[in-house]
């Protein structure tokens, strides 16, 4: 690992001021960053530790939402009473990710900002547009190489990576805002909207500007009718401690056989959590039947552009969406 200087930020302003120096990165829980530094993928000259800033609380918001501090650990968020009762899909998404040990270390902001686990990105001996940007003329080796678990939606010639977060998928379904502070002041960024599609600039995972610090994630209120029928389901290669092949966060409000409202977001399929707007449009106001659920899944996945070895994800996602909605519709609210 390359030598680096370390300092602990005393407040958000000091952290933002410190990051202005070239080669500086924020350190949260470090479960991803420290690993990437061991691999030589990240080579910061200086780390600014923001894990002990006072962003470790979960607060009620006047509109019925929750404000989650950026440094709240994944395990604490999943165990929080209000999250378990009012946002069960968020608790389930967190519990389905990583291991008990890692969830005790990983932070809310770090979960959102973790990097892809694409094998080429993590291997410095391989070309990768996400790691090297425009400096590598040989392009993305995953397109013709090992891409079984990479994107089927929204990818580009430059990058077919998937974002590995489960939590972000639930946040995209719920609707959330990321609070950030930077040299230009404070702003909020919606989820979905924080993560971007790769286009011609695969290096940037999110719309954050350099140096911007995530301070909190604010959840919209999830209507009790939606929360009561909501879940997170994750398909993976082994039953635990594995990244999603495809996952879905879903919520369904059904009244006398009609879909009043719904939320669907997919994981493991794109450069960020994928809100299934087209599927939702197809469902709202229509009958809550397996045929409609399948039609909604189809309406979303018609956009899919699978690669040679990940075409199986298209029917897998279709079946996962359809069966998840059917089970939600069948459950007593």
């Amino acid at each position: 690992m390359r030598p680096f200087a370390y300092e602990r930020a005393t407040d958000a302003g000091a952290a933002v001021a410190a990051i202005a120096q070239p080669g500086t990165m924020y350190l949260g829980g470090g479960t991803n960053l420290v690993d990437l530094m061991k691999l030589g993928v990240e080579t910061p000259e200086r780390l600014v530790d923001v894990s002990r800033l006072p962003f470790d609380r979960i607060e009620e918001r006047p509109g019925g939402g929750l404000l989650i501090g950026a440094a709240v650990r994944n395990s604490d968020l999943a165990a929080h009473r209000a999250v378990r009762e009012r946002y069960p899909l968020l608790a389930l998404s967190l519990l389905s990710g990583a291991s008990g040990q890692l969830r005790n270390i990983a932070t809310t902001a770090g979960n959102l900002l973790q990097r892809t686990r694409c094998a080429y990105f993590q291997d410095v001996s391989k070309p990768c547009n996400k790691r090297l940007g425009g400096r590598d003329p040989s392009g993305c080796p995953a397109r013709e190489g090992d891409h079984r678990n990479l994107a089927i939606l929204g990818h580009s010639a430059a990058c077919v990576a998937t974002h590995p977060s489960d939590m972000a998928v639930a946040l995209a379904a719920i609707g959330a805002e990321v609070h950030v502070t930077g040299l230009e002041g404070e702003r909020t960024i919606p989820i979905p909207g924080l993560h971007r599609l790769p286009g011609g600039d695969a290096q940037r995972d999110t719309v954050l500007e350099r140096g911007e610090l995530v301070t909190a994630v604010e959840l919209e209120q999830l209507a009790p009718g939606l929360a009561a029928r909501s879940t997170y389901r994750k398909v993976r290669d082994r039953a635990s401690f594995s990244f999603a092949v495809v996952s879905v966060a879903a919520a369904l409000e059904v009244d006398e056989g009609t879909v009043r409202d719904c939320r669907i977001a997919l994981g493991g399929v794109a450069h960020g959590p994928w809100r299934a707007w087209r599927a939702e449009e197809t469902l709202r106001g229509g009958p809550a039947t397996p045929e409609r659920f399948a039609a909604a899944a189809e309406a979303e996945l018609v956009q899919a552009q699978p690669l040679r070895d990940n075409a199986f994800k298209v029917p897998l996602a279709r079946n996962l969406i359809t069966s998840t909605l059917a089970s939600l519709a069948g459950e007593p609210a």
């Binding site: 690992m1 030598p3 680096f4 200087a5 370390y6 602990r8 350190l27 470090g30 479960t31 420290v34 690993d35 530094m37 061991k38 200086r46 780390l47 530790d49 894990s51 395990s75 999943a78 165990a79 378990r84 009762e85 069960p88 608790a91 389930l92 519990l95 389905s96 990583a98 291991s99 008990g100 040990q101 890692l102 005790n104 270390i105 039953a239 635990s240 401690f241």
Partner: protein, 173 residues
């Protein structure tokens, strides 16, 4: 302007003893425990947070010591497998692992035991897991499925799981 330094003086409270040490900023808690302090109970398996052999308790919570920069743990309490027994009185989980023959080579065992200590405390706090039926209500009952799910961050290459689960269950229930 301060001189750039790649070392730091930190204090760690490890198994109830205070240690004031200088660390390379690159050193993980695992490397400091093993190489600087001679506490070789926590093992280096994958060194990437995937195997759990390095599991220790930091502030009472189980964590992968291989992914924690030691410099960032300044001032914190650490418990390693060496700190679980009281003299010759083994921790109940240590005794249960022996009674159930819950290991073959033993390399993953310190991590398994520290992880189980943390896991049982988490369940005691009412934390749900991915296999808990009703995550909103009810204290989780640590049946075999719950133990397997909650211990999935600890791999055993010998495949001693068939005895690890009963050993943990004996203490957890």
């Amino acid at each position: 302007m301060s001189r750039v330094t790649h070392h730091a003086d930190i204090t760690l409270r490890i198994n109830d003893a205070e240690h004031r040490i200088q660390v390379d900023t690159r050193a993980t808690l695992l490397d400091v425990l093993r190489e600087q302090l001679g506490l070789t109970g926590a093992k280096k398996g994958c060194d990437h947070g995937q195997c759990g052999a390095c599991t220790v308790l930091v502030g009472g919570r189980r964590a992968n010591a291989c992914l924690l920069l030691a410099v960032a743990q300044d001032g914190l309490d650490v418990t390693t497998v060496e700190g679980l027994a009281h003299g010759d009185d083994l921790h109940p989980l240590q005794a249960a692992f022996i009674a159930h023959d819950a290991f073959q080579c033993g390399y993953c065992t310190p991590g398994q035991i520290c992880s189980a200590v943390g896991m049982i405390a988490e369940a005691g706090e009412g934390w749900p897991s991915a296999v808990t039926g009703d995550i909103a209500n009810g204290p989780p009952v640590l049946d075999d499925d719950e133990i397997r799910e909650r211990m999935s961050g600890n791999l055993c290459r010998c495949g001693a799981y068939a005895n690890i689960v009963p050993a943990i269950a004996e203490v957890a229930r």
